[in-house]
Amino acid sequence: MKLIFEKSVSGRMGVTLPKPGVPKSDLNIPEEYLREDLNLPELSEIDVVRHYTSLSLKNFGVDSGFYPLGSCTMKYNPKINESIASFPGFRNSHPYQPEGGSQGALQLMYKLSNYLCEITGMDAFTLQPAAGAHGELTGLMMAKAYLKKKGEERKNILIPDSAHGTNPASSVGCGFDTIKIETNRKGTVDLEALAAAADENTAVLMITNPNTLGIFEKDIVNISKIVHSHGGLVYLDGANMNAMLGIVKPRDMGVDMMHLNLHKTFSTPHGGGGPGGGPVGVREFLKDFLPAPIIEKKKDKYILNYDVTNSIGRVKPFYGNFGVMVKAFTYIRMLGSQGLKDVAENAVLNANYLMRKLKEDYLLPYDVVCKHEFVISGENQKKDGVSTMDIAKRLLDYGFHPPTIYFPLIVKEAMMIEPTETESKQTLDEFADAMHKIAEEAKTNPDIVKSAPHITPTRRLDGVLAARKPIVKYKPSDSDV
């Protein structure tokens, strides 16, 4: 399909704007600061509508079908969320408008923080972080500030080897060193390895629970104790909270700080890669370190308090991805306590059901009860020359979005599958069917799998070429590569 630039026709117009309508001033900007050309495309409104309508048809979302991308909680995004986020008082409010005219927004943020506290058991939340990884960074900055305040120079962050890539990346970003903790044969943190690694140099354990294998760290209380016993902090990567809503509070696992992914657990749409929300919750003793401003209630007024004693400072201008918060708030208020628990229970039921079904054809490296997701391996199929990549691509032909693949790294030929609670049994059965057919094809007709996809808008794309000879912006001459 042509690029929008390639559809441009010199002189074409897509909008009309009002006349300036004021006496014209001479430009007092020095000549050499004035733009000469601006090669944006020139199109009419109909061109733009058709172009992006066509592009949308080459994209697949939860609204298109099953999207079991593990670790990403691709659940259904209720349409009401979108409608409410576009209410004019939310959508068109300026972050610097007076507090008196922002009571709705502040109240919403204040209450949302409280709900998140109740759900997680934490004592306070900041809503500033824009995504999970941003939350991790924020949390670790607070840990660093806290330790520094205590006069401790702890350098190490312990991270299970199954952790998401953002965990180590955030750690080094914060100037920490990372120490990898091995996963045992049951798919959980190896207690001995942890005990061996934890010491007075341990700043933080970053743990994901349920972990990225979809398995609940049943020793979590002990794990926390070990870390605490060495004076370290326990940070929970709460991206997988969908499985735990109303079941267990991270606080009760011994967690000191954590982030949540609003765009996963609380059903705000993923937007093709964002925006998200990564609020960070902490226990009382870390509250003073939260980024300023924090929202407080004084009598009947909600206010922004910029005066936070040991605050690490801002991590975001203004107050965070407010529009995303509106959606999460809507979701929580529509579900309530029972609704949230239903979410966790059904997410876990769906995952276990699908896991058991797929186990008939695929290797299940950790064959235990899972939570919101599970990881199977394409190793059996690999013997027939069919890789997990091939299986994923073949799934496209069956009209499904593939699982997360080759992650977590500790499972060879990994396929990480998270069905979420918003999928029905029929859909799971249909997906299992497709996976079964592919397993059969891998035996009887491996070429059809290896050359997949066949019916997508493009055939398999060459990632190596893209990286070897990177073309990352339009140049007229590249248009006919």
Partner: protein, 448 residues
């Protein structure tokens, strides 16, 4: 409502298949000791009718720029968004998808990201750009980190004329990443070149200025860039009001190595401060250092052009602790909004919008300067924001304005003590002449 489709019967069938008689059995690995004993203490669930009512009221208790003459900018801009933008954004295939890991099923997002990158490069005069960052401030911070890594130097020089909250965020990041901040002074509303010259030293990884700067003024990029380069520092330019680039030469033309900024102004609503849209664009040589997603052009097995996430070895999911950044989820949908916005505004529309902003802002500045007691604080070229020195407290003036449904300027005293009597006003294509005239009248009225 729980949005769970399965019925009781289906759940029972599934449990039968699993050989369990209650879902609780699936949670036996969760120690009973820590399992919630009580229901969560949350308000009663609401139906859709009720939540619309409830949040409709909450929304009404917020100012809504449609009901005001808005002269507030300072990093968040109330610009025109052609209705076509939202109509297209609301297509489920876009907004209910995620990062386009599976290229063949995600050509829509991948191509639009490629288009976004191209447009950002065109606007800024750079060679490469990424798929988006959280916001202008995190983009700026990441630029500083990039510079520090690239140059192996530890100091970040930044002008006080950069948005104060961006500098706060940078400070937070710098603390964590072990970087030192060197702030440089201002002179008549511009970064003080003498001060830059004086403070530049071997440890300076980069020099950061904003264009137009926080006060709307047009920095002397050429001179500053030359100084930076002479010092082997990377020259970073931050753009927060990108509509200005419809009128102004791109930072790249003045030697900027990295251009970061905030593109909310391009097709994204104010949203009480977020989600907005950070971007980063660089010269070719930094391509492999850029944080975040990048969409690249490639071919499929039948030789057709297509797009794919590329240079992923920079990223956390591959490179983990050695990644260029930890960013994963970004602001993709906001980037799509900007892309559609720029496509429909096009070359002429953006230029025209910039021209209207300029003309109306200058009209406003002149009219206000004519009011006794009000004066332009600076006398340098500006785009659509300008600092006015007031004869009484800006807070008080704003209060009067508000009572007339005018949202006055930003009270910069909050961040610049020495400018306590100053107000930063912003004028866009949304402010009609009569709004401006009313503003001027309202200001004049309140005087003795």
């Amino acid at each position: 409502m729980n949005f769970v489709p399965n019925t009781k019967k289906e759940r029972e069938e599934m449990m039968d298949f699993l050989g369990i008689s209650s879902i609780t059995e699936l949670f036996e690995d969760v120690d009973a000791g820590i399992r919630n004993k009580d229901d969560l203490k949350l308000p009663e669930p609401m139906s859709e009718i009720e939540i619309i009512d409830y949040l409709g009221e909450l929304s009404s208790s917020n100012h809504n720029m449609q009901d005001f003459a808005c002269f507030l900018g300072a990093g968040a801009y109330y610009h025109f968004i052609p209705s076509v933008v939202d109509h297209l954004l609301l297509r489920g295939e876009f907004y209910t998808s995620y990062t386009p890991y599976q290229a063949e099923m995600s050509q829509g997002m991948l191509q639009s990201i490629f288009e976004f990158q191209s447009m950002i490069c065109e606007l800024t005069g750079m060679d490469a750009a990424n798929a988006s960052m959280y916001d202008g401030a995190s983009a700026l911070s990441e630029a500083a980190i990039l510079a520090a890594k690239y140059t192996e130097k530890k100091s970040i020089m930044i002008s006080k004329a950069v948005h104060p909250e961006y500098r706060h965020v940078l400070k937070t990041y710098a603390n964590a990443f072990g970087l030192k901040i060197l702030e440089t002074e201002m002179e008549n509303g511009l970064s003080d070149i003498k001060d830059i010259k004086t403070k530049l030293n071997d440890s300076c990884a980069c020099v950061i200025v904003q264009f137009p700067n926080f006060f709307g003024n047009i920095e002397e990029l050429k001179e500053i860039g030359d100084l930076a380069h002479k010092n082997d520092s990377i020259f970073v330019t931050n753009v927060v009001e990108p509509i200005s680039l419809g009128l102004l030469k791109p930072p790249g033309a003045f030697g900027a190595d990295v251009v970061v900024g905030e593109a909310q102004a391009l097709g994204n609503p104010l949203n009480y401060g977020g989600p907005h849209l950070g971007f980063m664009a660089t010269k070719e040589e930094f391509l492999k250092k850029i944080p975040g997603r990048i969409s690249g052009l490639t071919l499929d097995t039948s030789g057709e052009r297509g797009f794919i996430l590329t240079l992923q070895t920079r990223e956390q999911h591959i490179r983990r602790e050695r990644a260029t950044s930890n960013i994963c989820t970004n602001q993709a949908l906001n980037a799509l909004a900007a892309t559609i916005y720029l496509a429909v505004m096009g070359k002429h529309g953006l230029k025209e919008a910039a021209e209207i902003c300029y003309q109306r802002a200058h009209y406003a500045s002149k009219k206000i300067s004519d009011v006794k007691g009000f004066e332009m604080r600076f006398s340098v070229p500006f785009f659509n924001e300008f600092l006015i020195e007031c004869p009484k407290s800006p807070k008080e003036i704003n209060r009067t304005l508000l009572s007339k449904n005018i949202l006055g300027g930003f009270e910069v005293g909050k961040y610049y003590e020495e400018m306590e009597n100053c107000m930063l006003l912003c004028v866009t294509e949304m402010n009609t002449k009569s709004q401006i005239d009313e503003l001027v009248n309202a200001i004049a009225e309140g005087l003795p």
